[in-house]
Structure formats: C-alpha cells, structure tokens
Amino acid sequence: MTRIALQSLRKEYAGQVAIPDLNLAIGDGEFFTLLGPSGCGKTTLLRMIAGFNSIEAGTISFDGTVINDRPPAQRNIGMVFQNYALFPQMSAAKNVGFGLQTRKISKAESERRVEQALASVRMAHLKDRLPGQMSGGQQQRVALARALVIEPALLLMDEPLSNLDAKLRVEMRDTIRQAQREAGITTVYVTHDQEEAMAVSDRIAVMNLGVVQQVGTPPQIYRRPANRFVAEFIGKTNLLERDLLRHDGKAVIELGSGYTLDVSGLLGPAASGRVQVSVRPEAVKAAASGLAAEVLDETFLGSHSQVRARLQSGEIVEFLEFSRRSALWKGGETVFLEIDPEQLTFFDAQSGVSIMQEPQD
C-alpha cells in the first residue's frame, strides 16, 4: 500500500523540456492512469517513477519518503512493459520466480507464490513454456504475474495492451483490473487509448505536452472536461463556436436559426461572451423538429449508425442514431436535431478552458 506524491517534477532531455512542472498525488491502492497522445510525457513520467529516467527538479515520494536517489532495484516496484520483456531463456515459472530469487525468499515459499501468481492470471498450465512458445496475450499474463508476485509497493504498467489484438485487449484489461483489485496494489498505468483508460482506471490524469490537463474519475473527465483538449481527446465531440446571450437573467445559446437552448443551470452567473460548445454525438438526436441540418452520410456500425450532417451555418455535426430504421439516410435529406443541454460543455473561446459551474455531478 503506497501513496505517491509528485511535486514540482521537471524533466529535460538534452536541454529540451519534456515535463516543465508537474504535481500529482496518487492514493493508496488506487488505479491511476496517465493518458495522452504519444509524446505527451506519460511514459517519461512513468519511467521517472520507476527510476529509469533522471529527475531534473522536484521530488517523488512514496508514503512521504522522497525516493529520488533510490535506484530502481530498491524501489520495490513491479513493472509491466509494452513488449512484455520476459526473459527469453527462462520458462514462465522461472520468469515469475526471478524477483523472488533476488529477494532471497526460500525455495518452497517461492514455488508456492509462483504457482499462485500464475494461477491468478490463469497461466498455471503453461508454467514450463518458454516465452517464444507463448502468444502475446499469454506472455503479457506471465509478465503481469511476474510483476505482482513480488508484492510490490507500486505496480507500473507501460502500455501493456498495445501489442495485443483488439479482442484480447478487452479480455486482458479485465484480468489486469481484477488482479489489481485483489492485490490492492497502487497502480500507475500508461496508455494512449482513452477507452482502455476509462475501462480500468479509478482516476485518470490527461496529459499533453508534459502538462497535466485534468485529473478526475472517468465520468468526470468525459462529462466535464476541463478544457478543449480533454474534450477532444476523450471520446468524440462536435465543437461549435457561439455567443453566449443573456435574456432576463437567463444564459441562452442560439445553435441555429430559431433553435436556442437555456443553459443557465450549467453556467455561473458571470459567464458571457464568445464560447465554444462541446456537443457529444450522443447528446444529439433526430427529432420531428429542432435544429435543421442536411445529412451528408451515414455509416452503419451494427448497434447504431454514425451520421454526419451539415448545419445551415456550414458547421458539420456528427451524431449517433440508434433507431432501427429499415433504410439509411441519404445524403441531402433534411433532418431536425434535438440537443440535450445537460450534456453540453462550455469553453471560453479564447483560452479553451471550461467555464462550467462548479461543483458538478
């Protein structure tokens, strides 16, 4: 059980600043995900926590103890890598037992724990296989067992699922989540896949250009993104730029001619001026009347369709259509759209920062 605190952390590569100044606190037993596009500094940060990257300024502490100068071997971490990083010459059981061996744990005890760890990832039957004889998913299971068996203070995972195919990824992320819950180990997980992040995490830190954009639970991040970057990076969204109007003390926004929404409940009394509205595709619904738009195309995806339509203003809006119609819409047809104001998010048009009223949810 470990609390982690990152304070005023700074990382430079050959004079280039990768992470300027970063603060994060991760709680005991928490499944914490660093999410962001490639090059955002998430892996760099993970490797700083592991001890493989140097720290230019600031501190990392485990349970209040600064561990900046502690070498990785003494940080008591379990690490799972993107390419599995199993020792190719050792069997699954030997791989899992490696960390116990360095900890001078008795042979009998070690065997028992290896067995248990392999069983917990459903790999007990393949304990004598070499990594070369296992599939990617099996290798990653062994790697997970190897990281967990040493009962580390902290489990670090660097894009552990990105080498697996889509179906296996879903299966494997459940295994990871389950194993982490059972062991109750504080976990820092790195991914660029927002769906994966939402599926496994207690909390997510969205990062861009070495800066944490928002920290929150998956619903908080999805429903109330702190800024435009988060809104666009997490899920899909339509951004419409409008003037926020004030009528009789109400905040009103006109999305198209004759289609206005009262959004007073969402915004603080001071909010006004030019804003960007984030409209999630699922907040839009075709209806008998509403915002007029011209259908561009419809992509059938099985459970639902994805429809693109052009507003009279020329802006293109994407929305989901769940109704079971027999025929798809054709390009050029007119539709009327109804938008659920509760699912909108507003950003200052200039700064891109959320102007939503606190607290939310």
């Binding site: 071997a73 990083a85 190719p88 050792m90 490696f98 360095t102 900890r103």
Partner: protein
Amino acid sequence: MKLAGKPFDGWSSVALVLTGGYLFMVVWPLVAVLLSSVTNAQGFSLDGFATFFSSRLYYGTLVNSLMVTICVTVLAFVIAFPLAYFMTMFRIPGNRTIQVLILASMMSPPFIGAYSWILLLGNNGIITRWLKDTAGLEAPSIYGFAGIVLVLTLQLVPLIFTYLMGAWRTLDVSLLEAAESMGVTGWRRALKVIAPLLLPTVLGGSLLVFVRAFADFGTPMLIGQGFRTIPVLIYSSFVGEVSIDRSFAAAVAVIVIAVTLGVFLLQKFIVDRRTFSMTALRPIEATRLSGWGGWLIYAYVYGFLTLALAPLLVVVVSSFRNTLYGQFVAGFSLKNYVTAQRDIWRYITNTFSIGITALILLVIVAVLVSYLTVRRKGALTGTLDTMTMVPYVVPGLIIGIALITAFSQPPLVLTGTFAVMVLALAIRRLPYAVRSTTALMYQFSPSIEEAAISLGASKSRTLVQVIIPALAPGILSGAVLSWVTIITELSTTLFLYNTSTQTLSLGIYAQVIRGQLGTAAALSTILLVLTMLSLVLLMRMPGGKEIRV
C-alpha cells in the same frame, strides 16, 4: 561525470578499464610502429620511407600487392555473383550442403590452399609430374603472380558469396514483383532495382576481400618465389633475411595501413549514403531449372565447388603418402603422423591452450564492449567502439610487429610468452566479434533489462543472469566462428611464437618452409578436421544458421 551516457557507476568503470586496456595493448603498439617508422638511431628520420620509394625492389612489392589484390577482388566478385544468384534463384540439388562446403572451404587455413597447389602444380607436383610423364608437357607454373591470384581467389570467393547470399535473403519478392508490374523486367530490373539494393553488401564484401588479399602473407610466401608482395617484404625486412631494419619494416607497415585505411574509408563513404534497411517478409523462392541452361548452371556451381574443395582433399590424401626426406614417394601409410607425433601433440596442445584462452578473453571483451556501445552511448564508449575497429584495417602481420615493437623491452616484456600469443589473436579477431555481438545486443530489448532491475536485480546480476544467458546462443555461435579463425590464423603470430607456443598453423608453416611436406600434410589434415568439426558443431547450434563472417 557522464562518460558513458549515464551517471557514473560500475559500467563506467568497466568502460574506463577497457579503454585503458585498449590504449595500452592496441593503440600504443601501433603508435610505437608509427614512431619507429619515422625515427632511426639519430632521431627523426624519414629514411625508411625514402628507402622504400627509392628502389624498385621495394616499391615494386606495393605494385605487385595492388595488382594481386585488385585482380583477386574483381575475380572473386565476378565468380561469386553468379554463384550466389544461381543458388538463390534456382533449385540446385544439395543446396544446403553446397553452402556448408563453400563455408568450409572459406574457413580452411588460406596457406593450406597454397600448399596444396604446390602439391598439385609445384615443381614436383602431382599434375606436373603426370603431364610430364604421360604427354611430356610442361605444366603451367603455380609459382608467381598467377598462382597467388588463383589461390587467393578460390579462397575468397566464398567470403563474398556468403555476403551476397545474406543480401539476397533480405530481398523481398514483392520488390521484384513491383518492378515487374511497372514493366521493368530482366536486365533492366537487375540494374535498376537489384543492383542498387545489393551495392552496400557488394562493397562491404569486396572490402573484406581486398583487405584479406592485400594482407595475406602465407600464400605469397609459399608460392610467390620471385614475385614478392608487400607483406613478404615486411616479413623479410623484419626478421632480417635481407637486413635487420626495423625502421624500414615499420615504414612499410605504415604504408600498408594507409592503403587499407584509404580503401576502408572510401568504401564507408560510398556505402554510408546508400544503406537500406530491409527485411524480407517473403524471400525469393527458388525456381526449378530445366534444359541446357540448367545443366550449365549446375556445371558452374559444382565446378566451383570441386575447384574449391580439391586442394583440401589433396592435402588429406597426401598426408597418408610415404615420404623420404620430406618429399613424397610411392605408397601409403600413417608414417607422417607417427614420426612427427611428439611435435603434433605439442602443436595441438598449444593450439587448444592458446586458442581457448584467447577465445575467452575475446568473448568477455566483446560482450562488455558491445553492451557499452549499445546501451551506454557516450563520448567514452564511442571512442571505445572506434578503437575496437582499429585492427579491422591493420593486417595481422603488422599487429604482430606492433606488439613486438611495444613489448620487447622493459617495463613490459611479452615477446615469446604465452600471453602475447593470446593477446595478438584476441586483438586480431576483436573487431569481428564486437560487430557480431553488437548486432545481437541491438536485437535485445532494453526493457528486458529494465524488467530485471525493477524486480530488484543488481546491474552485474542482470548481466550474468539475464543478458548473457539470453544472448548465449548467438554469443556461442559467434565464438565457434572466432575459434575457427583463431586456430587457422598464421600471420599475426608469426613474429611472436617460440617452440613452446607454436600452434598447428605455425607448425604447418614451419614444416613447409623446412621442406617437410609429409609432416605438413599430416598437420594440415588435423587442422582441417578440427576446423570441420567446429563448423559441424556451429551448424548444430541454435544460433548457427545465419553465418556472418
């Protein structure tokens, strides 16, 4: 301190020790040769160089060497290219065996080839005698320019052939198909698509052929007679057959290094801008041959194989012939082995003790250097990497001279010792061993190492328990290859041995020079058997299929 790319730790110390060792054992001796080339008893002097360029007797050897080398390089390529092309494009019966045999002929000691041709075409050779006895004809002489070119070409075709085979294997069929789909076929395709892709390999292989042919000492020494090449000149001026003039020998050595270095840099300059990284998802598939063309191709492949293996066969058969005063006479027996058995045992013991010690030293240094250059990129490790490549352009004979020059007077006298033999052989082979281990190290993901460290293993434990065992198959097969070159090495140790450190290859050389052809044949056979056994072992090892020389 960030000497090796990361904060100072155990690995930085290893880098420092290795660099120190290299400076002292390799760089300093070569600098000593350079110094000796520009000094005489009075001080600074360019007399050595002046002497060399003043007499045709001396500079003529450079001309001779260049003539031989250029002929051999061109011929080797001209013969090897069709060979590799046929072996890749067409189904040749016994393909795998042919490749192994060609490799074996390459790995056999070069001077055994020369010696065997003496047995065939020498003054008293089998063919010479047969032609004279049956037809009264004068056989073409094996001595001189043509003989040297013949022997070296046969010896070095396999080298460039191996390179070309490797390159063909990386060529994806889809590249050829893409060219074809755009209407580029036949010769135009060969010239526009295949040739540029193979060029780096061809140049790399040719460089190796050039360097080996230029530096080869055994062949011209045995069959050159009046035709002297520059390594022979270095040898004779250094051991004092003409006159003991170390400054002159050093000057010639410097000239040789300059030529090799020049060719090396030229090759690097051309290749560096034309290197591609390719992996064939779908390598070229061999097609079946038919008709007259097919028979011609078979004749070419098997013909070359016969020519390359015949000398080895001749040596083996000759070793069982009776001899009288060193010359062959009628009848077969084991006499050659029995009469020289005490010498034979001494040679074998020395070959193993010196060879294995050198091999261990070599593998350890190669693993450490390649780890440092791959994982710890920094100023110091960069220097170390460059330094390990130095012996690549320095012929073996000159490494020997350098070690004598540097370590024949106090504080450190090594000449004539076991240690200097080990050192010389390890240094000679190091560039090749480092290159092959570095290639292995690059394929080894750094995260495997990090995984070990994250699990609490120390750096040395990670090296010993994780990295080395994981790379072991590759390291071992590289070591077997190094072993073969170590036991067949002649020129490097020629100045350094005495009777207590004489190895098999040195023994063969001494016996041939003394005219003890029977003993030489017996020793050669033993060395060949040893080489073949090592190669068979190599082929059976997991990492031994892809041979890089």
